[in-house]
């Protein structure tokens, strides 16, 4: 550099940039105890549900009435249910469904929401207004109610369940992504690109989407948490997978009356499992949001 700089900017001066470096974000995440615990919990539960049955195989399809309604014992660590299934094994078995449906629905909701929100935010004008009125309408309709109506019409399989849950939940992320798009589209580097003749496609593909990644990832994490909770509600109401398949919500529903008569092992494990996994995803989402310095939920 030939020109002498009289005073370089102070070394520790905080530089506010549009995106935090990945390494810095990872460091911040690691410093957030709650988030790290959450991540560990998720890993443990996933292993539990998918690897567990290999280590602790149980029969979850046939009715075995001779071992029904037993309390926790050495043979059945969490006891058995009304038709004789081992509860611990059922917890793993049901967990697979809860997790798969929850994660898939959460991701689907985020993808749809991102597309909707970014188009609305970028195009603006009456298109944006119309798209957002649709979102308003969707939010006004209570999700659980719509799910009940749909289930009264058809009984969805796992794929159908994922689709329906995803389609009911995409509304909130769409608003978040729209807000993010509105902010980004007026950034100087986008304006510069447009001024020199860059296309809309390039602005979106090269600038808007990569810079929204952190918001999208945070939104996706919270969506998965919400979806797993929603699956539990849906199954509890009897609309999820049909027996003998089950998930944690279904286990809670099946064990409801029994719980009143003291057979706590039928509801406490699935209940705690739901709380634990949803908590974990929320903690991770919170941690990611702080690490990336993203606003909004």
């Amino acid at each position: 550099m030939s020109a002498v700089q009289l005073a370089p900017e102070a070394p520790g001066a905080p530089v506010t940039v549009a995106a935090t470096g990945f390494r810095l974000a990872a460091r911040r995440f690691r410093g957030n105890t709650l988030a790290v615990i959450g991540l560990a919990v998720i890993v443990v539960i996933v292993l539990f549900c998918f690897v567990g049955p290999l280590l602790y195989p149980t029969d979850q399809t046939h009715t075995l009435l001779e071992q029904a309604n037993q309390g926790p014992s050495a043979a059945h660590w969490l006891g058995t249910d009304a038709v004789g299934h081992d509860v611990l094994g059922r917890l793993m078995y049901g967990g697979k469904v809860s997790l798969m449906v929850g994660i898939a629905a959460g991701v689907l909701a985020t993808v749809v929401g991102t597309l909707w929100g970014s188009v609305a935010g970028y195009v603006g004008g009456w298109v944006d207004a119309l798209m957002m009125r649709v979102v308003d309408a969707g939010i006004a309709i209570p999700a659980l109610f719509i799910l009940l109506v749909i289930s009264a019409i058809t009984t969805p399989g796992v794929a159908g369940l994922i689709l329906i849950l995803g389609l009911v939940s995409w509304l909130v992320p769409s608003r978040l992504i729209r807000a993010e798009t509105l902010t980004l589209k007026n950034r100087d580097y986008v304006l510069t690109l447009r001024a020199i003749g860059g296309s809309h496609a390039r602005a979106i593909g090269k600038h808007l989407l990569p810079n929204s990644v952190s918001t999208i990832v945070v939104a996706a994490t919270f969506q998965v948490a919400d979806a797993i909770l929603l699956v539990a509600y849906v199954s509890y109401l009897g609309l999820g997978v049909q027996p003998p398949a089950t998930d944690w919500g279904g286990m809670l529903s099946a064990g409801l009356t029994a719980a009143y008569s003291g057979r706590w092992w039928l509801i406490v494990p699935p209940g705690l499992a739901v709380i634990l996994i949803v908590c974990a995803f929320n903690a991770v989402g919170d941690g990611l949001r702080d690490a990336f310095d993203v606003r909004g939920r």
């Binding site: 006004a140 309709i141 909770l229 109401l237 706590w264 709380i275």
Partner: protein, 319 residues
Amino acid sequence: MTTALYLTRRVLQALAVILIVTIVVFCLLHALPGGPARGVLGVSATPAQITAFNQAQGLDQALPVQYLRFLGRLLTGDLGTSYTLNEPVSQLIAERLPKTLVLTGISAVLGLVVAIPVGMLQAARRNGAVDYAATALAFVFYSTPAFFLGLVLIIVFSQQLPWLPSQAPSGNTLAEVFQDPAGLVLPVVTGALAMIAVFSRYMRASTLENLQEDYVRTARAGGASTMTILRRHVFRNSLTPVVAMLGYYLPVLFGGALVTEQLFNYPGMGLLFWNAAQSSDYPTLLGCVLVISIATVIGTLLADVAQSLIDPRVKASRA
């Protein structure tokens, strides 16, 4: 923008949203087995009656025309007749809605009264013991399904410690509901806990953001203490996004926490809907959805109007 112009704009937006809701419900109505004829005539209608109805109502006509007739019926308050209870749906809803509003309304008030100060306190004493404890609790209650929470509360407070009844007051009028306040406690607490979990987090985040604002520094430079600043300035500024979040809560307010009503056997909108779902009572199902959605939209509109009256910036600027 003058208030009149702003209001007109918001009302038009709300109408557009309501229209979209009616379209969604109309589509669902036509996806039902048996179609709308059943919805109006009831489950005991004979095939002959249905055919006559279809012809008379012009159900063989184009969908847009049918939709307009549907809208017309809605405007006169005709939501069809319940299959199972054989009463007009609008009457059923009129009976049940006030009871739901009582339950969820009290939960909401209780929840906010606790959540807002707790959130602010957490922000003021960030990363302190209270903050961590409250955050952990919020996470737990946030992630607990309402039916599980309610179940645990019933088992603990109704069975193990026979302090409170496990069933909510049943009864057809509001007066009867209030005669048994003890029965309201558990369902209200179930709803309130979830609300506290959500709204304390929002209040905390909003207060933290506002504490970074320049006007806080100006007030400190004028000699005010942190508590005074929180009370006089930050509180009002932090409320705005929280009030906006209440909009998402409105469907719950009107629809009743479905599972809570079912668990506690409380005769509100939620239980009505649940029973209708069990017996495939489509007119009731769709009538409820419609009423709740429209009530939500109107509620959001009123909230926006209220905010524009309170916040002078909203009044003066574009929505």
